[in-house]
């Protein structure tokens, strides 16, 4: 896998690095206070003082997009972290040991996987209170099956390889073999799925916040902003465009990265 020669990977890395830089800077500094209202500057079109214009309360849209992208990013990252951690443990153990527990868990996985994740997340949120932690929890739980499935398949494949047998001969216990030897070897297979999972999380968070069951005001999030922006589509189209463009850049960057990592045939 020669990453340097892969156009997808390079472009994806550039876009992602740009978004990450913007988000990191946004954590310590934004051009304006994202929540500061300015009655004299309502719904300004993009200009020098406000490069992306202002919203209905005179809040600077660039600052809000930066903060919203940060919020969306953190939620997606936390979601993937939950899904990945639980997926590694469940998939690792079932793939390594097999048996009836493996059967049951994989049946359950099939049932959950048959569902569109946004629909399930909506139902899960209905069981809790809307808000940032519920959305992380709901989406995180929903991502466990897909990660568990990939980890399980890989672990089951790797456990019959020679290096596992040698590790055992050297006296390594099951846990040591599984998490010390097999796990590092499945990372390359796992990375593209992590990027795809991240994108699904961004999309799901944006959709749920747009529907009003995700992040609650005054917290900013890209989906939440699109919800507000839709009411001012006629008078301030730049609001919706900016928030939407930020979502697209996030998803596009990680999508290209995952393809570069997957080593797919380049056009």
């Amino acid at each position: 896998m020669k990453l340097g020669h892969n156009k997808n990977f390079t472009l994806g890395a550039v876009i992602t690095a740009f978004m990450l830089a913007v988000i990191l800077v946004g954590m310590v500094w934004t051009p304006y206070d994202p929540n500061a209202m300015d009655g004299a500057a309502k719904r300004l079109a993009p200009c020098l003082a406000h490069p992306l214009g202002t919203d209905n309360f005179g809040r600077d849209i660039l600052s809000r997009v930066i903060e919203g992208a940060g919020a969306t990013f953190l939620i997606a990252a936390a979601t993937v972290a939950i899904g990945l951690a639980a997926g590694l443990v469940i998939g690792g153990l079932t793939g390594y040991y097999g048996g009836w527990l493996d059967e049951i868990i994989m049946r359950l996985n099939d049932a959950v996987a048959a569902f569109p994740s946004i629909l399930l997340a909506l139902v899960l949120i209905a069981l809790m209170e809307p808000g940032r932690s519920s959305i992380i929890l709901a989406l995180g739980v929903l991502f466990v099956p897909s990660f568990a499935r990939i980890v399980r398949a890989e672990v089951a494949r790797q456990k019959s390889l020679d290096y596992v047998a040698s590790a055992r001969l050297m006296g390594a216990g099951d846990m040591r073999v599984l998490f010390g030897h097999i796990l590092p070897n499945i990372v390359p297979v796992l990375l593209p799925s992590v990027a795809i999972g991240f994108n699904n999380a961004v999309l799901a968070e944006a959709s749920m916040s747009y529907l009003g069951v995700g992040v609650q005001p005054p917290d900013a999030s890209l989906g939440r902003m699109l919800n507000e922006a839709q009411s001012y589509l006629m008078s301030a189209p730049w609001y919706a465009l900016s928030a939407g463009a930020a979502i697209i850049l996030l998803i596009l960057g990680f999508g290209l990265l995952s393809e570069g990592l997957g080593g797919e045939r380049d056009a």
Binding site: L233, P237, A240
Partner: protein
Amino acid sequence: MLVTLLLISLLAFLAFQIIPADPVTKLLGTDYTPERAAALRHELGLDRNVLVRYLDWLTGFVTGDLGVSYSYGMSVSDVMAGKGAVTAALSVMAWLLVIAISVPLGITLARWQGRRLDRVFVAMNQVFMAIPPFFLGILFTYIFGMVLKLFVPGGFILPEESLGGFFGYLFFPALAIALPKAAMVTKLLRSSILNQMDQDYVRTAYSRGNSRWSVIRTHVLRNAILPVVTFVAMTLADIVAGSIIVEQVFALPGLGRLLLASIGNRDYPVVQCIVVIIAAVVVFMNYLADVVTQYIDPRIRLG
């Protein structure tokens, strides 16, 4: 297939039993007294054993009795009447659009692989795959609704009033759902065809004097379409989910809005019903994909 469905319905049912939020509290509101709550709980049958209620609900569901909505006070099937048709029409339309766009486009791009047209579309595909359907819906509302005035945002037309107007209004929402999916299917079909081009049988076909186009049309397509069929069938699940959100963008009175309203009202019979119906559609589509795959490639046997 049946086992999966039963499992899903059981999960959907149990999920609403273990939660702290109580529909009775929500229904009574300020009229809440312990006696009234107990009476209402009895009336709704909520004081019986969970398993008994599940079996009750399941037999009702199978025989067409979908239960009674808590907040509307009428049967769930009456609440859903008409709304299901909107979501179904929207989803099917979006799904047909996905096929209508991606199949010709995927084949054409594979045919002209490496040329400028191919490279432009491959790059565009990548961007379209990254656009959330509801944002595309907002864009369409602005461009086609407000600037070009091709439709009236929020001006949904009932199918009873004008069938043409009904489908006309659904066109842009359907397109918003379809485009990102169509981009994925196009990409998959294109690379599936190109993967086949390295095979021995393709070289044999070339050596018999076939042109690239006739090799693709008569030999490659049948082999390349298999993974695409499975994927297209599975996209229907995402399309239904997408339509639930896009319905909000275009103010369509479909299942999505009903679902959101019912979640807000803790109207669980309605939520359960919608979830199980969508799950049934998804599971059935996957089954259908298996059947079609087997028809195209008789070597694959259903397990």
